[in-house]
Symmetry: none
Subunit: 118 residues, 2 copies
C-alpha cells in the first residue's frame, strides 16, 4: 500500500504537451480542434489535472507529430521499452542534411546541453 497516489507524472506530461503545442505554434483552442477535444480539457491536461485515455494520447501525438509511445512514457509506460530518441543520432542520420550542416547543428546542440547539463 505504499502506492500513495503519485500524480506528479501528470504534471510532467502536461508540461510536455504545453511545450509541444507552443512549438507547433498552436493555441489551446486550435489543438483542441485538431484533436477533437474541448479547449478547457486541453488546459486541464497541461496542468496535470487528469490522466488522459489512450484515445486522447493518440490524438495528441497525431496532432503534434509526436510518436504516441513518447506520450505513453509520461503516463508511466516506462517500466521498459523506453523509446528514447537521441537528438544527436537523429541529426547524424538525417539524409536531408549535409555533413557541414550536421556538424553545425551538433555543435549548437552540444553547446546547449553542456551548458544545461550541470
Amino acid at each position: 500500500m505504499s502506492d500513495k497516489d503519485e500524480r506528479s507524472h501528470l504534471v510532467g506530461l502536461g508540461a510536455f504537451i504545453r511545450s509541444q503545442r507552443r512549438l507547433a505554434q498552436l493555441s489551446q483552442r486550435e489543438l483542441a480542434k485538431l484533436t477533437k477535444l474541448s479547449d478547457p480539457y486541453v488546459s486541464q491536461l497541461e496542468r496535470g489535472l487528469h490522466e488522459p485515455s489512450v484515445r486522447v494520447l493518440r490524438a495528441l501525438g497525431n496532432a503534434l507529430n509526436i510518436p504516441t509511445e513518447t506520450l505513453m512514457g509520461y503516463v508511466g509506460l516506462t517500466d521498459e521499452s523506453a523509446a528514447d530518441i537521441d537528438t544527436a543520432s537523429a541529426i547524424r542520420q538525417d539524409p536531408k542534411l549535409s555533413d557541414a550542416q550536421k556538424a553545425a547543428m551538433l555543435e549548437i546542440y552540444k553547446g546547449f546541453t553542456d551548458e544545461a547539463g550541470k
Copy 2:
C-alpha cells in the same frame, strides 16, 4: 470516419487478455488481485465492454508478463504513427533542451532543409 466508432478492437483486446490469463492459469479473480482491479471489471474487459486506461493496461501487461506495447496495439496505438524518427521530432522531444533552445534549433534546421531544394 463516423463518430459511431466500432469498438471491435476492444473485443480483440478482451479476447487476447482472456487467452493470456488462461495460459497463465489464472482465474478472473486472481488476475484482478494481481492487477488491483475488481473482478467484474476484468470480466467486462475480456468481453470488450470498456476501453481500459493506460494505468490498467500497464498493470495487465505486468501481471501477465506481456510487453505493454502489445496491449497498446490492441487499443489502437499501432494503427499508424510509425516510428517517424526525423530530426525535428527528436529535437522537439529532447528533455535536455529548453523551449527556447528547441525553437532555435528548429529554426536552423528549417533553414537548412528548406534551402536544400524541395
